[in-house]
Symmetry: C2
Subunit: 121 residues, 2 copies
């Protein structure tokens, strides 16, 4: 398994914290696109879209390549793996704590029942 640095995760999550950038990733998930195509699609200036693509590229979520005058964008090969892995690990940890809580509640209910029966005797 590849190890990811904290700063890599910082960059990935920061890149995902903008609706336009998430939209660009969804779009590139369907088909590669040039920056001007993306700018048009998201009703944005070329400069604005270049900035967003730059943030995504720095986070490794997007790769770009210039052929002639056109810069084509495509998804990076494993940019979201680290972010997904972090969230999954956290959810498991939290899930196991909730399970533990469930067990404690069940135990309390069971005891209450027993005590109730004792009191009625």
């Amino acid at each position: 398994m590849v190890q990811y640095s904290a700063s890599g995760l910082d960059a990935s999550f920061a890149a995902l914290s903008d609706a336009t950038r998430r939209g660009v990733l969804e779009q590139l998930g369907r088909a590669d696109a040039s920056i001007s195509e993306l700018a048009e699609k998201f009703d944005m200036t070329l400069t604005g879209m270049k900035k967003h693509v730059g943030v995504l590229e720095q986070a490794g979520l997007v790769k770009t390549a210039k052929v002639g005058r056109v810069r084509t964008c495509k998804l990076g090969s494993h940019g979201l793996e680290a972010a997904a892995a972090w969230i999954e690990r956290h959810r498991q940890l939290w899930g196991s704590r909730l399970d533990e809580l469930d067990r404690v509640v069940e135990e309390l209910k069971r005891k209450e029942k027993v005590d109730g029966r004792k009191r009625r005797k």
Copy 2:
């Protein structure tokens, strides 16, 4: 299924883009803690930790409750679900595109083999 707003996702991902805040979530995944306990654990001023907890609370990832003079922090009940769901959907989309690419490559290889055989005849 609960629908999450784009701004909710913005806030969740922004909250996750800092190593200390991710650390706080991991810590609270193990046990609830007061802000001063968290500040000590992460070697940070109380003011600094309050800010981080504020960002996590606004994103719905953490809940706090003040009992007497102590503010206790615990994980929010479903703060990471939306972020996890977005990433998962994106990965599936991207995964299916990679599968498609695999099929195209296999198809090209197959054709090349056939063509090679034809040329040898």
